[in-house]
Point group: C2
Chain length 342, copies 2
């Protein structure tokens, strides 16, 4: 039976994960879960971010379900670099998967875009690029300070994520992959990405392809998001583009993500894109849909595509059935979804 490590985290993280687990237990009876206390609360209490012993325990699981970590009291970078990125890197989660759909019952901020018209998935590289943390500060705090950040990209890392994107496109009806980079300015990394893309594309002759600069893609995600099917891009561009994709599909309330090691050599991690939202924490008003959709990605990854589809469909139906303007509690949504998948 699947062993899931649960990092509920901070703020609304705990609230939405409770609902996600409720749904998970219905579709995967007997699933073993273990809670791990990580995040801002633990850091503030103990100074610990991710003890080595915990990292090793997490390694023994099939997947990690994460709510959200973070709090304004923690300096920027501590939990991001020490926990989230550490897990992505140590567990070689090189496919950062972020689907965006405009669900029936939701409204895009874009005029005239109707539910069903946006259905894209961003395959964001998760272990390289500017996220590696290479760089430093020379003469810090003086007028002579120089700060550097280095983007590292390998053929190995670029090729495997591009191949993953083509594999996903091959299973989708539209069969199209868009590479996004900035080859006209970042000529070194861009050259590697473009050459690798062209090499892999030769293996998938029936997949349509296109290339766009990141600035153009950012614009098209607003003016014509319908054009995208699978988008493959680097770590930082993927971070930005997926938030635009979330915005045009109605915000991060429904944005799910998986940090995936496709070979399952290490645990993959699934989490809503939203943060811990301290402003609404404890009120029972957070929408657990993104956490539940992340659980669907988890199910799919662990080899339960039918359970995944059922959960996804339940979320879609629940969202479509909501009465506009009336608030539903976190728990009530979780109950509805658990009933729907039963």
């Amino acid at each position: 039976m699947a062993k899931i490590a649960v990092v509920a985290g901070d703020g609304i993280g705990t609230e939405v994960v409770a609902q996600a687990l409720k749904v998970l237990r219905v579709v995967l009876p007997g699933v073993e879960t273990t809670d791990y206390d990580l995040g801002a609360a633990r850091y503030n209490r103990t100074g610990e971010v991710l003890p080595d012993s915990v990292l090793e325990e997490l390694r023994g699981h099939d997947a990690i379900l994460l709510g959200a970590v973070g709090d304004p009291s923690v300096p920027p970078g501590v939990l991001e670099r020490g926990l989230l990125l550490k897990l992505r890197f140590d567990f070689d989660q090189y496919v950062n998967l972020r689907p965006s759909r405009l669900w029936p019952g939701t409204t895009s901020p874009l005029a005239g875009v109707k539910p069903g018209e946006i259905d894209l998935v961003v395959v964001r590289e998760g272990t390289e690029g500017l996220y590696v943390g290479a760089g430093g500060n020379l003469h810090p705090g003086t007028a002579a300070e120089v700060a550097t950040e280095e983007s590292l990209n390998t053929r190995h890392g670029v090729e495997r994520v591009i191949r993953d994107a083509f594999g996903r496109a091959a299973k989708r009806p539209r069969r199209k992959v868009t590479l996004v980079h900035k080859t006209n300015v970042l000529t070194h990394a861009g050259g590697l990405w473009a050459r690798t893309f062209n090499a892999v594309k030769a293996e998938f002759p029936d997949i349509e392809t296109e290339y766009q600069h990141v600035d153009a893609a950012a614009m098209f995600l607003v003016s014509n998001p319908q054009r995208y099917d699978v988008v493959v891009t680097d770590n930082l561009f993927g971070d930005i583009l997926t938030d635009i994709a979330a915005a045009v599909t109605g915000g991060i309330g429904l944005a799910a993500s998986g940090s995936i090691n496709p070979e399952r050599a290490h645990p993959s991690m699934f989490e809503p894109v939203h943060g811990s939202a301290p402003d609404i924490a404890g009120k029972g008003v957070a929408d657990p849909s993104a956490a539940v959709l992340s659980t669907a990605l988890l199910l799919d990854h662990l080899g339960h595509p039918e359970a995944a589809a059922k959960v996804t469909e339940a979320v879609g139906n629940e969202v479509a059935a909501r009465t506009p303007g009336s608030a539903i509690s976190t728990e009530a949504i979780g109950d509805r979804l658990a009933t729907a998948v039963a």
Copy 2:
């Protein structure tokens, strides 16, 4: 009298610049202009991108008006690195200024956002960051390839552009500056930007400030662009965010930009954000408004704020007076604007 170097460039660049010059000659009679043949056409004909002698001639001008350069026949990076970025760097154009307004008569793709509600300006750093071109390719073309891109940031470069942003905000009614970076991941460069921002902000106690991560800013530019007044950010983030800002204000048809050396120690360069658009070139249908608005930025920079305001107002009125759905030629728009400013 002001001496302007004109680089009309390729595709629609020549068409829109002709109209911009028509307007410029009316508001600044006697302005001296010199044409420079640079861009894809020249590169394809002669292999030259920017001969040193031309660079030196450009240096003798007060400003450069550029249409657009580029063509699919030129490999990515050649004109960008060799011409556009070379000018930005050699002429120390450290303020890349990009205003975005939702003009009366235009429609945002965002539902419910009304003309006048979006009025922001992005002050994008123009001489540092990932645009410096530092990096390389090790073992290129092999399975062992590593490609790097290095972002270089100096206190000098960061401080001057942040101070410029505060200076601009002080002259605007809302008096607000938003710093955008990614301090939680790019901790080295982000630290420098955040510390410098806090230092400069202490000099402007009556300016409101906020900080946002780039992914959050990309989302808010879609969900709530009204919140922004002046946004200051690094070179690459500015590239992406200004295209989102252009998209939500109706596309790049009205997006103007200036690559500015505020001290006027070197010529500044003004250009529409749109490209050479080979698909519509030669048809006389390109909208010259962005080029004309760029000319207004040029006028302002050269110490003619009233002429600048007049040109900007004329564009606003012309756009507002257009009959929805009916096409106007490039030349007709130029004529209308020239008449309006007379």
